[in-house]
């Protein structure tokens, strides 16, 4: 895992739930089929109400019509990101759409765990309210070692909480590689 993550930011509000991240009707595609798995990218965040798609102004679809990958690589969220169902299709869909990191104020438990154990991307949580710090489309640069994120477009820097012990799982790749490394499984 690179310790520097750069990309364009997509800003969302509080309580973005898994039905908004990947609507239930799309949970049927095969995650291991190269063609079908692209559908998860296509429909990532497709149930977010229009007014909240890309804050502050909204009306910016995360993935544009006809595309399978998003123009945005970093998601900034509010409280309780990923609440709702246990579907791992949610972090999977975000990763398929090209997400490299999320920085939210707080996470729902299962979503956070899935993001880490599945090795999809690091879910950071911020001390500060990042919703006023970023606008959708800003360019950002995350430095994991220093636990800071820079808003390159607006020339500001803000810190977030270090990942703590779970970083070992992400660095290993996923829960399985971690457990192997630790000798927990063969």
């Amino acid at each position: 895992m690179d310790s520097i993550i750069e990309g364009k930011v997509y800003v969302l509000g509080d309580n973005i739930d898994t039905d908004q991240i990947i609507p239930a009707e799309h949970l049927v595609y095969d995650c291991n089929d190269d063609q079908e798995r692209k559908m998860y990218g296509k429909y990532a965040l497709s149930s977010v109400p229009e007014g909240q798609q890309g804050l502050p102004d909204g009306q910016i679809p995360f993935v544009s019509e006809g595309s399978y990958v998003s123009d945005f690589q970093i998601i900034v969220g509010g409280d309780n990101f990923g609440c709702g169902s246990s579907r791992e299709h949610a972090p999977f869909a975000l990763r398929e759409a090209g997400v490299k990191a999320i920085i939210a104020k707080s996470y729902a438990r299962i979503f956070f765990r899935n993001s880490v154990d599945g090795g999809f991307y690091p879910p950071f949580d911020s001390k500060e309210d990042l919703l006023s710090f970023f606008e959708t489309g800003d360019q950002a640069r995350i430095d994991m070692k220093k636990s800071v994120v820079e808003n390159i477009t607006q020339g500001k820097v803000c810190s977030f909480n270090p990942l703590g012990e779970i970083i070992e799982i992400l660095e290993s790749g996923d829960l399985f590689s971690y457990a192997r490394k630790k000798g927990l499984i063969k």
Partner: protein, 436 residues
């Protein structure tokens, strides 16, 4: 707190980790008694299991991996059909003892209710499930929590998983609930007070005289929605009500532990409620914590009523609805979906004033179908009662996020079966108080 004192959740996790003492905040590895999965998350879990443990890998125990298809059953969607086949093939290959396959006489319906009815819920043990409402089973004094496919694949192969021991928030209901108050009102009241993130990472434990007086099905509804408060698990101490429910359902040779908390156990929150002053709660769109009371919302129009799901499709729920609908006609489209085959067959046995529930629903003008999750989570376009446009639904389900029942333009109001049935008669949100 004295060293050595534990909550019920801590005691269950201590036992499952082979230690005499664990404490909130610790990361521990625990043994799973059961891993449950279904048709939506089963295929993904199986794929990861095979990828990580090899094509010929065997599950950790053939009696302990329970697969219950329930989400997308009655649909022509070709991918949904394929998912049913993947889990069926896997169950055969692994010779699983408990596979409740769709379109067979073993089919049950909604997984959390089937787990209880088929005797898989064992007090004092650990249950992992690839469904966030796995916390339903906490009603049996056990640790039950939802996990994702990667974690589930890990459990499938090893029978183990790491967990952070949660702190407990304890909600105590003193006195007795009024007659028109149901489990849904209880949990929506708490979620309204604490928000959808108020219990994140924690246990929500429910206690007090009024909770002890609840049936197992009502307890399951309360614990089911612990996840809507963000909790890791819901929990109610097992007692004689639990025991009598288990009596005919659990195999004779199974041992259970009825754990009690130590007197000086440590709680994150202790909150007392007066059960007798409770009112009928309605969660307004688009969040379960958007609390309103039915008696203040009588001008809110609804055009559809939905009675079903793990929180609202059990026989207690359908009977409550039938008490209100008996000898009356619904004013709006009303759908009834029994949670499981057992509930469905009970609809022909359980009676209100001499009439079976099925007779009452038919006469009232409700549409009914076979047991499954149906429109609770939207699902494929041809799903029974799925919203397609601007519907305003009052529903006994547990989530009302945008798009949850299909259309992201629809509005969902969550309420108890009493409130939903009373509202169905009027076409507006209606307090069931006068009807019961």
């Amino acid at each position: 707190m004295q060293f050595g004192s534990m909550t019920i959740t801590e005691k269950i996790l201590a036992k499952a980790s082979g230690q005499s003492f664990v404490q909130a905040g610790q990361n521990i590895w625990v043994d799973a008694n059961i891993l449950m999965t279904h048709d939506v998350c089963g295929p993904g879990t199986i794929a990861i299991f095979k990828k990580k443990f090899g094509q010929d890998a065997r599950v950790f125990h053939k009696d302990k991996v329970v697969i219950i298809p329930d989400h997308y059953i009655y649909t022509e969607d070709k991918y949904a059909r394929r998912n049913l086949k993947i889990i069926r093939d896997f169950a055969e290959e692994q010779d699983l003892t408990y596979f409740y396959g769709a379109f067979t006489d073993k089919y049950k319906g909604v997984c959390h209710i089937a787990l209880a009815q088929e005797g898989h819920n064992i007090p004092g043990t650990v249950l992992f499930g690839t469904d966030s409402h796995t916390c339903t089973s906490g009603a049996f004094g056990m640790f039950a929590t939802g996990i994702g496919n990667t974690d589930a694949a890990f459990v499938m192969g090893t029978g183990k998983l790491w967990v952070k021991v949660p702190e407990t928030m304890k909600f105590i209901f003193n006195g007795t609930f009024p007659k028109h108050i149901m489990a849904k009102d209880i949990i929506l009241e708490i979620i309204g007070d604490y928000t959808v993130a108020g219990a994140t990472y924690r246990t929500m434990e429910f206690a007090g005289q009024a909770i002890k007086e609840l049936s197992m099905e009502e307890r399951m509804t309360v614990c089911n929605m612990a996840i809507e408060g963000g909790a890791k698990n819901g929990l109610i101490e097992a007692d004689e009500v639990t025991e009598s429910y288990l009596k005919d359902r659990v195999k004779k040779d199974v041992n259970y532990d009825f754990f009690r908390a130590d007197d000086d156990a440590n709680y994150h929150t202790l909150r007392e409620y007066d059960a007798s002053s409770m009112r009928s709660v309605v969660a307004k769109p688009h969040s379960p914590d958007n609390k309103g009371y039915a008696d203040e919302m009588q001008d809110v129009e609804v055009d559809r009523a939905y009675i079903g799901s793990c929180t609202g499709g059990k026989i207690t729920d359908l009977k409550a609805a039938a008490v209100i609908l008996e000898d009356k006609k619904v004013a709006i489209d009303t759908f009834v979906v029994p949670a499981t085959r057992e509930v469905e067959s009970d609809m022909d046995k359980v009676k209100v004033n001499g009439k079976t529930l099925r007779e009452i629903f038919i006469k009232a003008g409700c549409a009914m179908t076979d047991p499954s999750c149906a429109a609770c989570l939207g699902g494929p376009k041809d799903t029974f009662a799925r919203t397609q446009g601007l519907e305003r639904v009052i529903s006994t389900t547990n989530r009302n996020f945008p798009g949850r029942m299909g259309s992201k333009k629809a509005s969902i109001y969550l309420a108890s079966p009493y409130t939903v049935a009373a509202s169905a008669l009027v076409g507006r949100v209606t307090d069931p108080k006068e009807y019961v």
